[in-house]
Symmetry: C2
Subunit: 608 residues, 2 copies
C-alpha cells in the first residue's frame, strides 16, 4: 500500500518504554488517515474521565498519507488529545515540514502517553527512537528550543514540534509549535508540559512509496494547474490569510468583546496595510501556495518586531477586542505568543474578557497589579501575555482560560467569557452568518472556525458563481453546517491545506497514492467524514457532553448587533440547533447521535 | 601552495561592485595570514583621518590558512577596521564555523568598503557572490537574522556573521556576531551598521588543499595528543573559560569600577557555581577543546534565561562593577548582548562608569529616566542594555562608549571612565600584574586583555614549572609585555585558539599545510609577530597616536588597592612604559617605532 509507512510508534513516558504497531486494514479503510486515525485511536485509548493533565491522557500526532509526496499542500500534521481547556475531544492541525520528515523517518504517527519524571524530548531518526534529557531545554522559548536541539544533534535539518514556557507551565491554551507554525488551539502544549515532554524531534531519509506513481503524478499535475487557476490562489499567495476587510464589510468583525461588528478605523489593519509590512515569504513542505509571509514593523514603538504571519485571527484578536488598530502591536504580540508558546486566539480572547470586566468595574487595577485595561490602551497586552505564560500574579488566573477565569472571578463575569465549551471564539460574529455560527456553536472542539467554515455564506459565489445565500436566514442552515463539518472532516483525513484542491482531485490523489479504489469516490469519503464527526461527538458524549454544551454566551442570543451591515441580527439558537440536530439525524433532546445513526456509520462500538 | 585559496574578494558597497585578487607572494611570506594579512591590508587601504563610520573605512574579514583543515582549534576568523570607539587600528577575533565555510566557498578573505544606500547582506557561495536586499532583516536581533537568512536561502548550513540592532544604530561598541560567538570588541558592528551591511552569509563545498598532507596529518596527531595532555585542556573542556576564582584570589577582580580588587561573595560566581548551570556543550569547527558551554538559569527572577558561555569577562563585567553576585543576571545580560549585538565588556564597563557617577551625584535619576543606579541594584542593567542598543534617551549617550559619554557629561567624569584609547578595560586590575597591565596600557587596540595576555604573571608555572615571577615587580616587565604582544600577533597569523598547541607544533602545522619552509621556524614567526605589531602601531601613529595615548585612568597610578592580595599596589606607569619602549626599540619620547626599527622589520614604507 502506498502513502502509508504502516508503522505507528507508541511511547509510554511513565516507564520510558516503546512499541511499534502496524496500521490495521480496517482502520485504513474506514478512517483513511489523519483526522480519521486520530479520532479513532484517541477514542479507543482514553477512558472517560481521564484527567487532561494526567498520565492517562495522550498526545497523538499523525502525518497524512500524502505527506512527503509531491502532492501540493498535503504535508500537515495533526495532534489529538483530551483538551485541558474544554475537557473534551480535541484535534489541532499544523503545517511546516514535520509531517513529511516523520514519514521520511518511517512513521505515520506517534502515540504518547504517561508522564516523564524529568523533562525529556523524543528523538526519532530513520526508524529509531529514544527519549533524551531535556533539562537543558526546559524554560526556553520555542525558537531557541529548535536551535539548541539542532545544535545538540549536529543536524540543522531536524524538524521539531515543541512547547514554550506556557506549555511547561500548563497554561490551558498553550500550543505546540513547529518552526513558527502552530497546532495552537485547545491546550496541546499544556498536555505536553504536564507530561514533561518538551519536544518531538524528527529526522529521516526514507522515501514515501506510491501505489500508482504514474497516475499519482498525473493527479499532481492536475492539482498544480487547478491551484494556479483557483481564485484563492491569488489571494493566499499575494495577500496571505487575511479576512479583516471581509468581516468588517460584513459587520462581523468582533469588536469590544463581541459588542459590535465593525472596528472603527479597520482600514489601518486591512490586507493592504499588512501588505506593506511584508518582507519575505515562506512555505510548508511541497506547497506552491506559499501562504506564509514574514512581516516586520518599521516604525513606532514596535519597530523591529517581526513575525511569520500574522493570519487573520491573530490580527483580529489583538485589535477588535481592545478597540485597537495598532498594526505593530499585532505583530509583536504574535511573535511573543509564538515564542512563549501561546495560542493567540485564546490568549487574546481571554484578555478581551478582562478589558470588559475592567470597564464594568468587576476587576480593577488592584487585580491586575496596576495595569490599566482601558479600551484603546494596548500597553498591557504584551506584559499580560508574559504573565500568563509564566503564571505570574494575575496571569496565573488568566492561564486557566476565559471560562475558568470568569468562574473564579464571579460577580456575573461568566456571561462575558466569549467561548463555547471552554474554547475562546474566533473572529467571526455568529449573528452575521448563521451556518457559520452554528458550526462555532456545535463544533466538537468548541468555538473553532476550522471545524465547519461556511464559506458559502461568507464568500458567496466562491465555489459556485451563481450561488446566492442569505447569511442571515435560518432555514437550511442546519444542513449547510453539517455538510461543512463533515466535508472538513474528510478533507482532514488527507490533511490537505487551503482548500484549493477540488474534491475529485483530492480523492484521486488519495486513491492513486494508496492504491485503495474506494478513496477515489467522494461519496465514500463523505461517509468517512460523517463517521469521524459522529465518533468525535461520541467521545464527548461519553464525557457527559450533550445539548447543554452547544451553548453560546447570552450576548449572541439576546442582544442585536447595533451597527453596520449585520445590525439588528441575533443568533436564533433554538430553531437553528433543532434544524442542525435533525439534519444530522441526532436526537434533538440530547443533541447526540442516535443508536441508529451510529449503526449506519459502523460505530456500534461507540453506543453509550 | 596549500592552505590558502589565493583569492580575496573585494566589495564596494557604494557602487555595488566586486573584484577578486590573488594573495601576493610577498604578503604571504612576510605576513603569513590572519592578523598579518589584515594589518597590512588595512594599513595599505585606509587613508589617515578616514571616518570610522564613513564610506572610506573598511571591514576586512580574514580566515586563517588552516581554517577548514583538520588542525584543531584553527578555524577562527578575524575582522579588521578603524574603530569608531578608539579612532585607531582594530582587530577583533571570532570562532565558530564561518572561517572554514569561507574557505570552502573559495576565499581567504573579504574586503568591504563603501556604504550601501539601503540595507544589504553579502551572499557568498561556491565562488560566487552577490549583494541581496536586507530590508527584511533590518531591525532583527542576531539569532533571528541567522534563522531568516537560512530560511530565505533554503539552506540551514549557511554560516553567517551579522549585526543586531546595536550595530544598525551605530552603537560604538556594537560587535559582529556569528552563531552566538562574537567579534565583539571595538565597534565592528557599528562599522557594518554605518555601511548598511546587515550580514555576510557564506556556503561552500570546496576542500582546502594541503601542500604536504602526510606531514600535516602527523602534526595534527601530535597536536591532538599534546592538547589532551595540556593542563588547560582539562580546564577549558570541563570548566569553560572562567577566571573569577583566579582574579579574586589574586585581588585583581575589578570591583566598584576598579576601586577594589576582590568582590565580596565572589564564591557565588565561581567556576563551580557556573558549572551547576551547564546544560550543554558546543564547539567551533574542528575543535576538540569544545570550550563552549550552554548555561541556563533554573531559579529566581531570570529563570529560563540561557546563553552560550558566559566567559569570564562577561561574568566579571555584570557583577564586579555593580557589587552584584547574581549569576542569573549575568546569563540574561550576556544573552541580551548577543541578541542586541553589543560587546559585553564595553557595555558593562560603560554602565560601571554610570554607577560610580550616580553614587557621586554627578548624574541622578533625572538623567537616567528614573533608573536608580545604586550599588547592589541589578534591575536597571538589562533595561539600560536595551536603551543603549536602540539609542533611547540615556542609552543614546552611553552608546558612544565610556570615554565620549564621560566627556559629554563633564563635571570631572572623565577620570572615572575606565578605558584606554577609548576601549573599556577588561576584568583585570593592572595594579595586580605589571606586565599584564603594561599590555592593557600599550595595546594597539586599547585596553584588550587578548593583545598580550601575560599568563606568566597570572598563572605562574603554567608554561614552565619552575618559573617564579613576581607579578608586582617592575623590572623586566617591558620585555615580558613585548614578548607576549608579539607572540600573540604571530599566533594570530594562523589563528589558533586557546593556546594549547606548542609553538613548534604550530609552526610545523603552518609549514606543512602551506609548503613554506620558513614558517616552520619559530624564530622567523617571532619576527613576523614583531613586524605586525610595529605596523599596527604605525597605523595608529599615522592617525596621531603617540606616548600620550598610552594612558591609564589616574586611579591606577595614584590610588592603591586597599584590600586583598594586591593591597598597596599602584601601577608605576613611567618606569614601566620607559622599560617597554626600550624593550621594543622604540623612541621613548614619542612612544612609536623608530626609523631603524621599521627598516629592520621591512616596514620602510610605514615611516612617517
Amino acid at each position: 500500500m502506498g502513502g502509508y509507512k504502516n508503522r505507528i510508534l507508541r511511547v509510554n513516558l511513565s516507564n520510558r518504554s516503546f512499541s511499534e504497531e502496524p496500521l490495521s486494514e480496517a482502520l485504513i479503510h474506514d478512517y483513511v488517515g489523519g483526522r480519521g486515525f486520530g479520532a479513532r485511536l484517541l477514542y479507543d485509548d482514553l477512558k472517560p474521565g481521564a484527567d487532561p493533565l494526567g498520565e492517562d491522557n495522550e498526545i497523538i500526532l499523525i502525518a497524512g498519507p500524502l505527506a512527503g509526496t509531491n502532492a501540493q499542500a498535503f504535508s500537515r500534521w495533526i495532534a489529538f488529545f483530551k483538551s485541558p481547556l474544554t475537557g473534551g475531544y480535541f484535534r489541532s492541525v499544523c503545517g511546516g515540514h514535520l509531517a513529511a520528515e516523520l514519514k521520511f523517518a518511517g512513521f505515520d504517527g506517534i502515540i504518547i502517553r504517561g508522564t516523564a519524571d524529568s523533562p525529556v524530548y523524543l528523538w526519532i531518526h530513520d526508524g529509531q527512537y529514544e527519549l533524551r534529557d531535556a533539562t537543558y531545554l526546559w524554560g526556553l522559548n520555542c525558537s531557541d528550543t529548535h536551535t539548541l536541539i539542532r545544535e545538540e544533534r549536529h543536524d540543522p535539518n531536524i524538524r521539531i514540534a515543541c512547547i514554550g514556557p506556557a506549555g511547561e507551565n500548563k497554561v490551558r491554551f498553550a500550543g505546540i509549535f513547529s518552526d513558527r507554525r502552530a497546532a495552537g488551539r485547545g491546550g496541546g502544549g499544556a498536555v505536553m508540559g504536564a507530561k514533561k515532554l518538551k519536544a518531538i524531534a524528527v529526522r529521516g531519509h526514507e522515501q514515501v512509496s506510491l501505489s500508482r506513481p504514474e497516475a499519482f503524478s498525473k493527479e499532481v499535475k492536475t492539482q498544480v494547474k487547478a491551484n494556479l487557476a483557483h481564485p484563492s490562489y491569488d489571494v493566499y499567495s499575494r495577500r496571505g490569510r487575511q479576512n479583516a476587510n471581509l468581516t468588517n464589510t460584513l459587520g462581523m468583525f468582533p469588536t469590544r468583546n463581541f459588542r459590535e461588528g465593525v472596528l472603527p478605523g479597520w482600514e489601518s489593519i486591512s490586507s493592504e496595510a499588512y501588505g506593506k509590512l511584508w518582507v519575505g515569504r515562506t512555505a510548508c513542505y511541497k506547497c506552491m501556495i506559499r501562504c506564509g509571509v514574514l512581516s516586520k514593523v518599521e516604525q513606532g514603538k514596535y519597530a523591529g518586531a517581526w513575525t511569520e504571519g500574522p493570519e487573520y485571527e491573530t490580527i483580529w484578536v489583538f485589535t477588535g477586542p481592545f478597540l485597537l488598530t495598532d498594526i505593530g502591536l499585532t505583530i509583536a504580540a504574535d511573535h511573543l505568543c509564538d515564542e512563549l508558546g501561546l495560542d493567540t486566539i485564546s490568549a487574546g480572547g481571554t484578555l478581551g474578557l478582562c478589558y470588559e470586566l475592567y470597564e464594568r468595574g468587576i476587576i480593577t487595577s488592584q487585580d491586575t497589579s496596576g495595569l490599566e485595561l482601558t479600551y484603546g490602551n494596548g500597553e498591557p497586552i504584551t506584559e499580560l501575555l508574559r504573565r500568563i505564560a509564566y503564571r505570574q500574579d494575575f496571569g496565573d488566573l488568566l492561564a486557566e482560560g476565559s471560562r475558568l477565569a470568569a468562574h473564579a472571578i464571579g460577580k456575573g463575569s461568566e456571561q462575558f467569557a466569549m467561548q463555547v465549551k471552554g474554547l475562546e471564539m474566533p473572529g467571526y460574529d455568529p449573528r452575521g452568518a448563521k451556518a457559520h455560527g452554528l458550526s462555532l456553536l456545535t463544533s466538537v472542539i468548541g468555538a473553532s472556525h476550522m471545524i465547519g467554515y461556511a464559506v458559502q455564506e461568507l464568500v458567496p459565489g466562491r465555489y459556485s458563481p451563481n450561488q446566492t445565500i442569505d447569511r442571515f436566514a435560518v432555514p437550511g442552515k442546519g444542513e449547510m453546517c453539517q455538510w461543512n463539518q463533515d466535508h472538513m472532516a474528510w478533507r482532514e483525513v488527507g490533511l490537505e491545506c487551503g482548500g484549493l484542491t477540488s474534491d475529485d482531485n483530492y480523492a484521486r490523489l488519495l486513491a492513486t497514492a494508496t492504491g485503495i479504489d474506494d478513496f477515489a469516490d467522494t461519496g465514500y469519503l463523505e461517509q468517512v467524514g460523517e463517521r469521524i464527526y459522529n465518533l468525535e461527538r461520541m467521545f464527548n458524549a461519553r464525557e457527559g457532553f450533550d445539548h447543554k454544551d452547544d451553548a453560546f454566551p447570552s450576548r449572541f442570543i439576546h442582544q442585536t448587533l447595533t451597527e453596520g451591515p449585520s445590525a439588528g441580527q441575533v443568533f436564533e439558537i433554538e430553531p437553528l440547533l433543532t434544524d442542525y440536530y435533525n439534519a444530522r439525524g441526532w436526537d434533538v433532546n440530547t443533541g447526540n447521535p442516535t443508536a441508529a445513526k451510529l449503526e449506519e456509520l459502523g460505530l456500534d462500538f461507540a453506543k453509550l
